[in-house]
């Protein structure tokens, strides 16, 4: 199923790119020249690094012959992130939730180590996944002193819970003159998390909330890029809200960094949103097996601005 799904994604994406007129043949300049321009200051480059569903995988999977043996591990991820930060001026490091649960590190230390590791790696923000409720809201609350990064979630109303002042709907990051708005969306908790673990949390419609957040960030705060950290899941057979449904039914979201379904996308997927603009979805499996990276190039005050809002050059490879 996984393979055929990925095949159909590739096909859809090709079709879409054609429709949007972003054919590779029409590229005005090569990636190399963009790099050069970025260094000269005409272009501003932003590097997004991301993970999802790390599930307490502190060490690599053990070498026991299983499918994922030897993969992942925070010490390697940290070294890689450090290296990228040395090379790139503007880096945002984000996580799409399910930080907790999956190895005995969580059973024994209740998420303290996961939060400390993410703090040490310099995570800029994360959202909450359903398993981040596994020790109840009190359990999550207790670990927040170890998390020196904001927890972004806009569609859980925590007013009547212990988490009422612990999260925020969005955060605006300023990097080299660029304004990047990041907000979070969580999955419906009923039927997934035991009632006692989410208590009086009120789940709000992610499409409605997503549109509201993205409009605030893009229009009111004039963000150059709007990112949604989503734990909704990539897609479902049944008609359930997912990142694909979110992308198609919203405006103003440039990038959805997804989680929950542990989907290994071959490459990010570009979906046409309500305005006919590109909303990109990405998800990099789980357990820290991969680190996702998207580099965005912005041109300052360019006349191409209006055009660029509907189409921009996309390369599915990194240039460094």
């Amino acid at each position: 199923m996984q393979n055929s799904m990925e095949e159909s994604q590739k096909f859809d994406r090709r079709k879409f790119l054609k429709a949007a007129g972003v054919a590779a043949a029409s590229l005005a300049f090569s990636t190399q020249s963009l790099e050069a321009l970025a260094k000269e200051g005409d272009l501003h480059k932003l590097t997004i690094l991301h993970t999802n569903d790390v599930h307490s995988r502190i060490e690599p999977f053990p070498m026991d012959g299983s499918r994922n043996q030897g993969l992942g591990g925070v010490a390697r991820r940290a070294a890689l992130i450090k290296k990228i930060r040395e090379e790139q001026k503007n880096v945002l490091l984000l996580d799409a939730g399910d930080i907790f649960q999956g190895t005995p590190y969580f059973n024994m230390f209740n998420g303290e180590l996961e939060m400390r590791m993410m703090t040490d790696m310099g995570y800029d923000a994360a959202t909450m996944g359903n398993h981040d409720f596994d020790n109840g809201m009190e359990g999550f609350y207790k670990q927040l002193p170890h998390a020196k990064f904001p927890i972004l979630v806009s569609n859980y109303d925590f007013s009547n819970t212990i988490l009422k002042s612990s999260t925020q709907p969005y955060k605006i990051f300023k990097k080299d003159g660029l304004k990047i708005g990041v907000f979070g969306l969580g999955i419906e908790l009923a039927g997934l998390v035991e009632k006692k673990n989410y208590g009086d949390t009120i789940y709000l419609d992610p499409i409605k909330k997503g549109n509201e957040m993205a409009a605030i960030l893009k229009n009111d705060y004039a963000c150059d890029l709007v990112i949604c950290l989503s734990h909704l899941g990539y897609n479902y057979k049944e008609s359930k809200v997912s990142d694909q449904v979110l992308a198609k039914n919203t405006r103003n979201i440039d990038l959805i960094i997804g989680g929950h379904t542990h989907t290994f996308l071959d490459q990010p997927e570009d979906v046409k949103n309500l305005d006919g603009h590109i909303t990109t979805i990405n998800q990099v499996g789980w357990a820290g097996i991969n680190l996702g990276r998207i580099d965005y190039y912005f041109e300052k005050g360019s006349a191409k601005k209006i055009k660029a809002a509907t189409q921009y050059q996309i390369n599915n490879q990194l240039s460094g």
Partner: protein, 252 residues
């Protein structure tokens, strides 16, 4: 003359600047995307290792103990109706459950998604069982009327099979065909005792049929502890942990 043109240009630029200042100052012109595989090629940040080392030592002291031996790797799949891991998991939990309550008819101790990791071939460390079943879910037995059992069987078929023990069925067009419970054809007119987890019984993973049980009792044992007991008992009897596909759920 030349100066006038320049002034006009400046004015136009000034107006454009005002217009721009209302919205974003930057236009997105390009993006490059990729991902890194975090494997042994990536160097290690030793300061991070230093931070987690004390936790690791404490964890290993408890979790590295070998509690059994697996004859082969027991894997799971979302796409297959029956898996080695699912059969091991449900048979083990049912066997431990029946030690407490022999009248249990069948078990669905977890959903496919609730089994979180495979069991490797070779030594089974305590950590393997924690990774397979990290949740603190407890075993419960529910007495269901026939119509609710039918709803549960429909759920199992609709979702393409789930880990079960004491139950056999064929799935055709997402519907159960000839379900057998304890070797007997399913009888809608009687009640059944079903072993599951408190999580599933409370509506977790949207499993059907458990909303309105006639009775519910807790067995006072965590699912994970049942698995550990089963592995230890098997090991004490001088046997390996193993599982076979026996066609308990097939799809046509």
């Amino acid at each position: 003359m030349k100066i006038v043109i320049k002034l006009e240009t400046i004015l136009v630029l000034y107006l454009l600047t005002i217009l721009w200042s209302c919205k974003s100052h930057y236009a997105l012109v390009s993006s490059d995307r990729g991902k890194y595989s975090i494997d042994s090629q990536v160097p290690v940040d030793s300061s991070i290792v230093k931070t987690y080392w004390p936790y690791k030592e404490q964890m290993d002291a408890k979790m590295n103990q070998v509690i059994g031996h697996c004859a082969k790797e027991l894997t799971k799949s979302y796409d297959l109706p029956e898996t080695l891991l699912g059969n091991f998991f449900s048979d083990a939990v049912l066997a431990e459950g029946k030690k407490i309550d022999p009248s249990i008819d069948f078990a669905i101790p977890s959903t496919k998604g609730g089994m979180r990791n495979s069991l490797p071939k070779g030594d089974i460390h305590l950590s393997n069982v924690f990774e397979l079943m990290p949740f603190e879910n407890e075993m419960v037995v529910l007495k269901l009327k026939g119509s609710d059992v039918e709803e549960l069987l429909n759920f199992i078929a609709r979702s393409g099979g789930q880990p079960v023990a004491g139950l056999r069925m064929t799935i055709e067009s997402q519907k159960p065909v000839n379900p057998l419970i304890n070797g007997q054809p399913f009888d809608k007119n009687r009640t059944y005792l079903i072993l599951t987890s408190d999580y599933v019984a409370n509506g977790g993973d949207h499993v059907g049929g458990f909303k309105d049980p006639l009775e519910r009792r807790s067995l006072g044992l965590k699912i994970r502890d049942a698995l550990i007991n089963y592995i230890k008992t098997t090991t004490d009897a001088g046997k390996d942990i193993n599982a076979e596909l026996d066609g308990r759920i097939t799809k046509i």
